[in-house]
């Protein structure tokens, strides 16, 4: 556990570890095998106060520090990647409001979201705008007392069960990123929101992602902040979100390494535990070192969260390194399990499939490198 945490936060993490091992771990393999939407854990997560743990107390959260939130997400991901992904997508939605909305909209949406009564989704990506969201084509044009929202989004986590979706669209198509605004769309309350079937994905098979198309009216009070502030909000949200992706990568990698260590102790080949072979010892040592480095970078970024200082570069370091290191760590862990690691009787192949997306979403590894390099050269 991180030395950054105070005693209440340590107790919080201890409780999440306990909850995760009792409630999340036993269901994780089935969620994956049957593609069951991880929202099945929503009532239990809500009861624990986990759905709002990224928010300050004023909005129904618990006011965790950045490092504590990092450790909390790591613990949940170590137990069930799909659940962590569903949860952090919800956080992207509530964070959008926290960072971008006025007080009235925050008060209307956040307490219910924190209590887990309302599930959120974050809709930025479009078919023609992934790595470069400023290319988005969705538009919101003035229409009476609100806006006409038109366009489509894809890969939107949680959308199928979401009570509110934070949708980014252009209020000024000529202004590029500065023309983007964000809106709360409540699919059950309005006409004209079509949510498609969930995609068939390689991993995180319980973290469902949906295509959405809109042709709907949105009231003006559902706009987050002023017109044209949406892109800035999205970038700030992703600075936080990337720390959470790093935490998820670290969590799954931790689970993989733990499994590899116990397997190396127990499995015997030629009358010796395989852990006695230097070839495997060095794999384990490299994995443990990379895991520690990933966590250190994640916590460094997490410490800056909430200080007011910009930390885009720290988030990028954390996400880039953790998502790539986690892949290597889980791959070695599978290797150490021999043929058994390749079967579904063990969680290793699931860890690898679940992890793979962390190098792609919320800014691919290439985009993280671009962010870092731009910062170096600017």
């Amino acid at each position: 556990m991180s030395v950054d945490l105070n005693s209440e936060e340590q107790a919080v993490i201890g409780q999440i570890e306990r909850f995760s091992s009792k409630v999340l771990v036993p269901a994780a393999a089935e969620i994956d095998a049957k593609s069951r939407f991880a929202t099945l854990h929503r009532p239990a997560l809500a009861e624990m106060g986990i759905m709002g743990m990224n928010l300050p107390e004023a909005y129904g959260g618990i006011g965790l520090s950045g490092p504590a939130l990092y450790c909390a997400v790591e613990a949940i991901a170590a137990a069930c990647g799909s659940t962590a992904s569903m949860l952090t997508a919800h956080f992207l939605a509530t964070d959008s409001l926290l960072l971008g909305a006025d007080e009235a909209l925050k008060q209307r949406i956040l307490p219910a979201a924190a209590a887990g009564e309302a599930l959120g989704a974050f809709a930025l990506t479009e078919p023609m705008a992934g790595s470069n969201p400023a290319d988005m084509r969705s538009t919101a044009t003035r229409d009476g007392d609100g806006y006409r929202l038109k366009g489509s989004k894809c890969f939107i986590s949680n959308a199928g069960e979401a009570d509110f979706i934070v949708v980014y669209a252009k209020t000024d198509s000529a202004a590029g990123a500065r023309g983007v605004s964000a809106f709360v769309v409540e699919p059950a309350r309005i006409e004209g929101v079509e949510i498609g079937r969930p995609e068939e994905t390689m991993g995180l098979r319980g973290g469902h992602v949906f295509p959405i198309s809109f042709d709907c009216h949105v009231p003006a009070e559902n706009r987050l902040g002023d017109e044209g502030t949406g892109f800035r909000t999205a970038m700030k949200v992703l600075d936080n979100g990337r720390i959470e992706v790093a935490a998820q990568a670290t969590g799954i990698a931790r689970a993989a390494l733990d499994a590899a260590v116990s397997y190396a102790r127990e499995r015997e080949v030629g009358g010796q535990p395989i852990g006695s072979f230097q070839g495997l010892q060095w794999m384990l040592a490299d994995s443990a070192t990379e895991l520690a480095a990933a966590r250190a970078l994640g916590l460094q970024a997490a410490r800056k969260r909430g200080t007011g200082a910009r930390y885009s570069r720290d988030s990028a370091f954390a996400k880039l390194y953790a998502s790539e290191a986690a892949w290597r760590i889980a791959d070695r862990a599978l290797q150490i399990h021999g043929g058994y690691g390749y079967t579904r009787d063990f969680p290793l192949e699931r860890y690898l499939r679940d992890l793979r997306i962390f190098r792609i979403y919320e800014g691919s590894s290439e985009i993280q490198r671009t962010i870092i390099a731009r910062d170096l050269l600017s």
Partner: protein
């Protein structure tokens, strides 16, 4: 009515206990510690009684090192109202703890004291009984059901060969068995709020109790490793082995 729940900080039940190399005890360095699971059941039972309107205040008390404060916070996060930490670094033996608890009971005047039937570290199974004797109160140990009435409490006890129900006059001592209830998880907001609940710090001297151990541990050893079993081909072979080798038939 007040309910007093003594809680002990023990090695976590998931930890694989290792004996120190010099045999002086078990290794507690960097080992996860938690509330004794039977005590968690005791806290849960107290909270349920309060939720049912049968109790007003729940006080958790722990005798142990400074870190036992974390154990008290766990109880407060579950729903207890305030805590008392009786701070000592001495090895706590049941009689010393029972003597301290007697003083706490005299000060607090609870109608019910609910304890775990035993702590999973030393498995003594003595503190509740000793406290009942020191106070001259009735006791219902190994409870799997607690039914609080007017001035009495019915306690269903898990005894060898079945269940026994005793009716005790209040105030009384109850010790919990595993099946009494399933303790709740403290929610994260309640864990954060627990830091605002009061914990009184005391020492054994405040109660005039000498906690010096009366027992001396001579040596601590690992239990012998279990021998591997054998597979038998059929029932006949099994019966033969039980008869001739094990000598149990």
């Amino acid at each position: 009515m007040k309910i007093l729940v003594p809680v002990k900080r023990v090695i976590d039940y998931n930890v694989k206990v290792r004996v120190k190399a010099d045999g002086t005890g078990v290794d507690l360095a960097n080992v996860k510690m938690s509330m004794n699971p039977f005590d968690e059941i005791a806290v849960e039972e107290a909270i349920r009684l309060r939720e049912a309107g049968k109790a007003e205040e729940i006080i958790v008390v722990s005798v142990g090192p400074q870190q036992a404060q974390e154990t008290l916070r766990t109880g407060l996060a579950m729903g207890a109202d305030r805590g008392i930490l009786v701070k000592t670094d001495a090895t706590t033996e049941p009689l010393a703890v029972a003597k301290i608890l007697k003083k706490v009971v005299e000060e607090e005047q609870p109608g019910l004291v609910i304890l775990g039937k035993q702590a999973i570290d030393d498995d003594c199974n003595q503190t509740g009984q000793m406290l009942a004797a020191l106070l001259g109160w009735s006791q219902g140990t190994f409870a799997s059901k607690v039914d609080l009435g007017e001035g009495t409490v019915d306690v269903t006890r898990e005894v060898d060969g079945g269940l026994q129900t005793v009716k005790l006059k209040l105030p009384a001592i109850v010790t919990t068995d595993l099946r009494l209830n399933e303790p709740r998880y403290a929610s994260l907001p309640n864990i954060m709020k627990a830091k605002k609940k009061p914990i009184d710090e005391k020492s054994p001297e405040d109660y005039g109790v000498d906690v010096a151990p009366r027992l001396e541990v001579l040596k601590t050893v690992e239990p012998p490793a279990r021998q591997a079993g054998v597979k038998v081909a059929d029932v006949a072979e099994l019966v033969a082995k039980l008869k001739n080798e094990a000598g149990v038939l």
